[in-house]
Symmetry: C2
Subunit: 425 residues, 2 copies
């Protein structure tokens, strides 16, 4: 800050504020000349009228933010047209992910499906196989919930050690949105599920309308619990790339099960053991056997800033360390942050009490002395589960997997503020 009174910049005010921060906090800012023309002189944008309201009936981010976009990693997926990109979490704050920059993963590309052409069939072990139009779905009682979606392969490259240099690429296969939709339970009951016999051992098989169909089996307990047939995200219609007009929301469970362009729900006696739940989305252990039905996304966190794509651009003094934490098994209870590679930990401040199966934003406000940092975060959820180190995960799960890596991430922040993806043991 510039002190306009001419006296030297002081740390008193900020120190006295007694802010609810975990670490040392001191005054921000570099001294600048008192006669800064950007504040003392009338600037062009104050001389002339700006753009009127008719300019953009539906707006996009300002051009100065054109680097805050979904990005892919060309070598990561071999297929030509069915790939993945990543949410720019390094540049976001808060918890909501705008649909426009929320990561995409398609197995046969994003399709264009009109509401008028949309159909959802419920069949199999039900009293009455039913076909719903979009207009039918709109007539059932709706719910709203904020949930995160994380791809099972998020951080998958990290099994082999620090590889991708940025939180967007290591942890960006996640988004967090407010969904509006109809509980799947309601539609299953409408089809007369109750007459199909004991529910506890039944399953559903869900398919999308795209060429991949991306079929997945879901046990009935979950189907009747909190699964939503959703048509809105963050208030508006699902975007094409997020399953317009209808997708499944399977709270806390791996993203692949959140079938987009939802076309069919079949009630069955057992799981289908489809491609997407056998050769894919299973976890091969060191002995060559595989874990399957690893649906729930364990508690995880990542520091989004500072990070390789969001370096420190100032000198020593106050520094905001921030990141995201989530658990597919409940709410985030606590996040600890280490600046020394896990030797010592401080409890971060959660911006709001953790919500069930939704992302939490955490902050740690520190007084940076300008020396290097080994930044880590460690999430704890409402079940008491503590996010493990990558080594602890490897000891149990081996190094053959590409899925379900929720190990603690390390950013090496150098004295010049730049950061790198590293691993500490």
């Amino acid at each position: 800050m510039t002190d306009q009174s001419g006296s030297s910049t002081t740390r008193r005010g900020f120190l006295q504020a007694g802010l609810a921060a975990g670490g040392a906090v001191a005054t921000a800012g570099a001294a600048r000349a008192a006669g800064d023309p950007l504040i003392t002189e009338v600037q062009p944008w104050a001389r002339f009228t700006g753009v009127g309201v008719d300019a953009v009936p539906y707006g996009l981010p300002i051009k100065f933010e054109d680097d805050v976009i979904r990005r892919n990693v060309p070598w990561l997926t071999a297929e030509t047209m069915s790939s993945v990109n990543f949410t720019p979490i390094h540049a976001l704050d808060g918890t909501i992910t705008p649909q426009g920059c929320a990561f995409e993963r398609h197995h046969s590309g994003a399709i264009e499906l009109r509401k008028e052409d949309y159909r959802l069939m419920i069949n199999g072990l039900v009293d009455r196989p039913l076909v719903f139009t979009y207009a039918d779905l709109e007539r059932f009682p709706r719910e709203n919930h904020v949930y995160f979606l994380e791809c099972a392969a998020n951080s998958g490259m990290e099994w082999a050690g620090a590889q991708l240099n940025g939180a967007q690429f290591t942890h960006g296969m996640i988004h967090n949105m407010e969904y509006s939709g109809v509980p799947l339970r309601t539609l299953l009951e409408e089809a007369g599920l109750d007459a199909a016999g004991t529910l506890k051992d039944k399953w559903i098989y869900v398919e999308g309308a795209d060429a991949s169909s991306n079929g997945r089996s879901i046990p009935m307990d979950k189907a009747l619990d909190d699964v939503l047939v959703a048509f809105k995200a963050n208030g508006e219609a699902l975007r094409k790339e997020h399953g317009y007009p209808v997708r499944l929301v399977v709270p806390g469970w791996e993203g692949n099960m959140w079938v987009k362009w939802l076309r069919r729900v079949e009630v069955m006696d057992g799981p289908v053991e489809s491609r997407e739940e056998t050769s894919k989305y299973t976890d091969t252990l060191a002995d060559g056997t595989s874990r399957k039905w690893t649906w729930e996304m364990d508690a995880k966190s990542v520091i989004t800033s500072p990070s390789p794509q969001s370096p420190i651009t100032h000198g020593p003094g106050p520094l905001v360390i921030t990141g995201l934490a989530w658990s597919g098994r409940g709410a985030i209870e606590r996040v600890d942050v280490s600046t020394d590679g896990g030797m010592t930990w401080r409890t971060a401040r959660l911006a709001a009490p953790g919500q069930d199966k939704a992302v939490s934003r955490f902050y740690l406000d520190v007084d940076w002395d300008g020396s290097e940092l080994l930044l880590q975060s460690r999430a704890m959820d409402s079940l008491g589960y503590v996010q493990p180190t990558k080594d602890a995960l490897r000891a149990i799960r081996g190094e053959n997997s590409i899925y379900h890596n929720n190990g603690i991430q390390t950013w090496w922040v150098k004295p010049n503020g730049e950061a790198e993806n590293v691993e500490v043991s």
Copy 2:
């Protein structure tokens, strides 16, 4: 729904579900042919690969939703380049408003201001006048909160009776977003506010960097309470039209005070009595005198569907009535809905417990008999305040005002499903 088993459609399942709805609920859907090719035959979108992830690094809504946009009313504001448009609340669900379709109001148009050129001065009755850069602001401890912003003129045309035919136009000067920013309190304390004498009778005057400057006075109690200096909305940078890179967030208070492109905060002994708080944004009563400092937005609600822009497109049977409610003085506690113009009321279902100074979504699931409806909603907040009728408001406030109309809105829904803005006495 189509019953694929060939038996007639039945209401049993839906009725048995025992859904938590306030009204009568029966089964949805019209009977369709069992051999619907849209579900029985392979469609083009299942034959071919769709669009890959590189298509849109930052996405927009699908083309089929191109009517869900901000709209203006050409005759409403006389000025050429400083006007207002409206959020398409009739087409949204949930509570979050995407920035892209959140209403705009500018007093000198939307300006383009780079982060590098951004400065915020705090001056006046402070120990140390300070100038902050954007990078400085990023070093202070941040908070996240969801708040609504409502323009004081929202529903203003309704003082003169039912005029604009759609919830977007009568109630669309509102949005509800998750903000990330620094408490203004922190910055005032950094400038040494504590040495400026007794705080209780002090004021701040806030200005934007645009040509209008849109200066407003805010009492110190509010400034030190929950006002935020915000740089993100719904996770990402503020859009240009919402004040990029920094706007003031004044929770629960009229939108005009949420100064965009925030440039200066001056601590003063009293209010400035600027144009925007004397000739504008005051409420002229029947006797010609005016109420001023009417900052807080009283509890209010509106049914967003059915509504003139969102008619009922199906026959009798299950109907979802939904809308938004909010209060600038606290949280929404309850919303009642009437289908007979206010003679009888049923308590609607809130999608989530009310949050302080944020929008609540409500639903009432009814069994529509196909006859005409006079739909109204009535909000109650955590202070026990009940949204009044328009007539009750006029009895106290007269008909000279254009601001702060929080009267109960009526939609006349006809047997054919179309709806009109009407007023009942």
